[in-house]
């Protein structure tokens, strides 16, 4: 049974001129223990809203989220969030930012124990030596490392990441992606991540949830990443499955994400969106893009 089970959630907003806009509805998917799931879709399909609902920061208008057999209503220390804008407290040093989380998790810990736990995660994300710096003195990549350390330091059962690398330059992004991959593999971390970067999703995820455009966004299908789990940013694209998966997702984002709502397949069931394995299919008719560069979804 899945650790996280999203069961028919919907989110609706009242429109200024009256009437109700449905951002998404009847969304079902699950995240198994130790699994890394990416949600990919264009801006405005409600990706961040889904993540906020999982984090307990937003509510659903119908449906429930079940985590570890219990309904998740409200935030929990079991689900740590890595925010898009790192969300560090600028008046606290690197260590104090992490210590704030650690002391919230274990309220009875003494100073030495808290300091040791902070140091462990500062070292883990490679920030040794920057403990006493304020966030304003750090680069974007280092700030996000603090955000990651803060989330991991409370030893959550699950990590929720909201486009954590989207504000970083390409080089920093690549390095951090690999570190997240390494850390999550080492700790068997369960992760749910929002992204609009196809390459990032293929590098990191075990399964990639494809969402159609909003309003009335739906989960069109779930792509199973058939690449071996030990992958690095340098050799992942050499695997024969890589471009099959990548082309499948890009095709979806460019065309099908828009057209899906007006042309829903007859056998499509929102309660059980189809799982596809494009990596195992024969090479597509479409030629591989010659540049092989980073193709990202709009937004």
């Amino acid at each position: 049974m899945a650790y996280v089970s999203v069961e028919g959630i919907a989110r609706r907003f009242a429109q200024p001129g009256g009437g109700v806009q449905t951002v998404f509805e009847d969304v079902h998917f699950g995240v198994a223990k130790g699994e890394f799931v990416c949600l990919i879709g264009h801006s405005g399909c409600g990706k961040t809203t889904i993540l906020n609902i999982l984090a307990g920061l937003d509510h659903t208008d119908s449906g429930v989220v079940v985590v570890g057999g219990k309904e998740a209503a409200g935030p929990s220390l079991d689900r740590a969030v890595i925010f898009q804008g790192h969300a560090l407290m600028p008046w606290m040093t690197v260590r104090d930012n992490i210590a704030f989380a650690v002391s919230s998790r274990w309220r009875d810990w003494d100073k030495a124990k808290i300091a040791a736990q902070c140091q462990r995660y500062i070292d883990l994300v490679g920030l040794t030596g920057a403990e006493r710096k304020k966030p304003a003195m750090l680069s974007g990549g280092m700030k996000q490392r603090v955000g990651i350390a803060r989330a991991l330091s409370i030893e959550p059962k699950m990590l929720l990441m909201d486009e954590p690398f989207s504000a970083l330059d390409a080089l920093t992004r690549g390095t951090l992606q690999e570190e997240v991959l390494r850390i999550c593999a080492a700790t068997q971390q369960t992760v749910f991540m929002i992204t609009h970067d196809v390459d990032e999703a293929i590098l990191l995820a075990d399964r990639i949830v494809l969402m159609t455009n909003g309003p009335q966004a739906k989960i069109a299908e779930i792509v199973v990443n058939t690449l071996p789990r030990e992958r690095t940013r340098h050799d992942v694209h050499k695997h024969p499955h890589y471009y099959r998966i990548r082309n499948h997702i890009v095709d979806f984002l460019v065309e099908r994400s828009r057209a899906f709502n007006s042309n829903v397949p007859a056998d499509w069931n929102p309660k059980n969106p189809p799982e596809v394995r494009p990596g195992l299919m024969e090479p597509p008719v479409r030629p591989v893009p010659p540049d092989g560069g980073s193709l990202r979804a709009a937004g």
């Binding site: 984090a55 307990g56 920061l57 935030p75 929990s76 220390l77 689900r79 740590a80 969030v81 925010f83 804008g85 969300a87 407290m89 600028p90 008046w91 606290m92 704030f100 989380a101 919230s104 998790r105 304020k134 966030p135 304003a136 409370i154």
Partner: protein, 282 residues
């Protein structure tokens, strides 16, 4: 060479001061002239020496004021009678009233500002009262305060309280209301209890805005105390100024004006230093 900008600024400041003092000295030096219009001898006898000379009380020169300041510095805390206390004692009275009224105002404005900033309900309910009460000149409260409190010293503390509460209240409410949503979300995902969120997240996040309000308030309080003490009399630097006006001791008045300015600057700089301490760079 004139060196750094700082050195040139200081030089120019000193130059301006010298020009000002020089001009004052020249303008205030009494000119030896004819005795002026003749006066009725009885009126002259009544008014004493000044009228006999046919002149007004002379404007003191900077040198006169300097001598006066030196005299005050000799015995700032001397008590020579009910109406002749040293300028240091008068200052201490004024500062005591300002700090008392200011601290009471802070003790009410900061928690109340927190409540207003965090609750749209309280904000909406209190806003009309704040909007009406805020523009009232603090001195307009004085008769009402004297009537209800029946004590002049407490009344002036009340006037300080009422004038310094508004900037602190409004700035605290604004600072608390504009704390970044993501910081609050961090606290929520960490299941931080409300009081700890208020103290560890909201207070430091809003501290620079709150301190700005406190700095505005102390400035207003120091402006108002002089006027309040002129009204209620008895003690304080404002009373000192008014008393010396009745004594026609212009040199004492000029001394007091200088002291009021210096103390006001000092108060502002202390609050400015604290503001700098809590300001964070994003």
């Amino acid at each position: 060479m004139l060196g750094s900008l700082r050195a040139r600024q200081t030089l120019l400041s000193l130059l301006l001061l010298a020009v000002f003092l020089g001009g004052w000295q020249i303008a205030a030096t009494p000119t030896a002239g004819p005795g002026g219009p003749a006066l009725d001898p009885e009126y002259a006898a009544l008014l004493g020496q000044a009228a006999q000379q046919g002149k007004q009380t002379p404007m003191p020169t900077p040198v006169d004021v300097g001598v006066k300041i030196w005299e005050h510095l000799q015995a700032p805390f001397a008590v020579r009678g009910t109406n002749d206390k040293g300028i240091g004692i008068q200052l201490a009275y004024s500062l005591g009233r300002v700090l008392m009224g200011y601290l009471i105002a802070a003790a009410i404005a900061i928690p109340l500002g927190f409540a207003i900033g965090m609750s749209p309900l309280i904000y909406g309910a209190l806003n009309p009262f704040i909007q009406v009460l805020r523009p009232i000149s603090p001195l307009a409260w004085m008769p009402l305060a004297l009537y209800t409190i029946k004590d002049s010293a407490t009344s002036s503390i009340f006037v300080i309280f009422i004038c310094s509460i508004w900037p602190m209240l409004i700035n605290t409410a604004f600072g608390v209301a504009s704390v970044r949503k993501e910081w609050l979300n961090v606290a929520r995902t960490l299941e931080v209890p409300p009081l700890r969120t208020a103290l560890r997240v909201i207070l430091p996040a809003a501290a620079p805005t709150i301190m700005t309000g406190m700095r505005i308030s102390i400035g207003i309080a120091w402006l108002v105390i002089v006027a309040a003490e002129m009204l209620v009399g008895g003690t304080g630097i404002g009373y000192f100024v008014w008393n010396e006006w009745n004594n026609l001791s212009i040199a004492n008045i000029v001394t007091a004006i200088l002291v009021i300015g210096l103390v006001g600057m000092l108060l502002d700089q202390i609050l400015g230093a604290v503001t700098k301490l809590v300001t964070y760079q994003e």
